[in-house]
Amino acid sequence: MNIEEKIGLYVEGELSSEEQEKVALLIASDEDYKMAYTTYLAIENELKSSPLLYPSSQFVKNTMRHISPISTPNRSVKILAQHGLSIAAILIFAGLFFTDINFSEMNFIPQFISRVHISAINYLYILLASIGVIWAVTDSEFDFF
């Protein structure tokens, strides 16, 4: 084993403890060992600080252009569904409110609220509208949360 190999193993801590001590002493006393050790550390530092290679300046743009087709259709459908359900929610509640008001008796409390029985279809509308609102509000793209 030559000096450089020994120094490499010494720096990596791969020698036995006895050998480690021996090499440490040699580094302190022997010029050849000292030089090999300093060289080894200098190269290690240079390698650690050597910069990475860079792709072309258009790389990020081109990559994102490829990513858009993956994400856009689903995203558009999702946003359309969210907005559609939110608008539907507003229309349904507005519709239920105004159609049930008895103007002749000046009773502005919608009758559907006081009714004991709400039709199944209204339950479905309300459920869908609620899902739409919750979905729209909790989606991270809107940054509400």
């Binding site: 450089e4 190999e5 490499g8 990596e12 000292k34 030089m35 300093t38 060289t39 080894y40 200098a42 190269i43 240079e46 390698l47 650690k48 050597s50 910069p51 990475l52 290679l53 860079y54 792709p55 072309s56 790389f59 990020v60 081109n62 990559t63 994102m64 490829h66 990513i67 858009s68 993956i70 994400s71 995203r75 999702k78 989606d139 991270s140 793209e141």
Partner: protein
């Protein structure tokens, strides 16, 4: 980029935020590109494969659970994608000359002196051969541990240690021989 920033971008990407993913691409493209370039020795192909790596990462980002470093996860995808690319194309891997590394997009912001030294180190790495060059990149530039490199390359840790030891030995010899680094004693 700190790790909390990185985790935020990953979480936002999982929620479909493309801008956050773009930040990840900007941050990690040099690492992914360098790793693939070392393997393929061809700039255009390396860019193509690197793009594919990021497309896959975007597609499967839900599967990243944070159990490993994000860079380790990306390097694993990069290694697998490069392997698939080489298998498909059956490219004759041509060893790079130092001149071709000079053309290979070393960071333009580096100072001239630093750039010269970088080119010398790149030449020394190029002289190692693809497999060793990739190991050196993962160890020094991607700052991956032996265990992480073993996971990325899907080989035993001991095997990584042996290969890395040999690659570093060759690299040290090459750098000392080329006298690329001036030492002060």
């Amino acid at each position: 980029m700190n790790s909390s920033e990185q985790n935020l971008w990953i979480a936002q990407t999982k929620n479909g935020n493309n801008k956050a993913f773009e930040k990840l691409v900007i941050a990690f493209s040099p690492l992914v590109f360098t790793m693939i370039y070392r393997r393929l020795n061809h700039r255009e192909n390396a860019e193509e494969v690197a793009q594919d790596v990021f497309l896959r990462a975007y597609k499967y980002i839900e599967s990243y659970k944070g159990e490993s470093k994000f860079s380790t996860w990306l390097c694993t995808i990069a290694n697998n994608t490069a392997t698939t690319f080489l298998q498909k194309r059956k490219i004759d891997m041509v060893e790079l000359s130092p001149e071709s590394y000079e053309r290979a997009g070393v960071n333009q912001h580096a100072t001239l002196e630093k750039e010269e030294q970088t080119v010398s180190i790149e030449s020394a790495i190029a002289s190692l051969g693809n497999e060793d060059a990739q190991l050196i990149t993962l160890y020094y530039q991607a700052e991956q541990s032996i265990r992480e490199i073993a996971a990325i390359l899907n080989i035993e840790e001991n095997n990584v240690k042996v290969k890395l030891y040999r690659a570093r030995k060759k690299l040290h010899e090459q750098l000392v021989k080329n006298k690329t680094i001036q030492y002060e004693y």
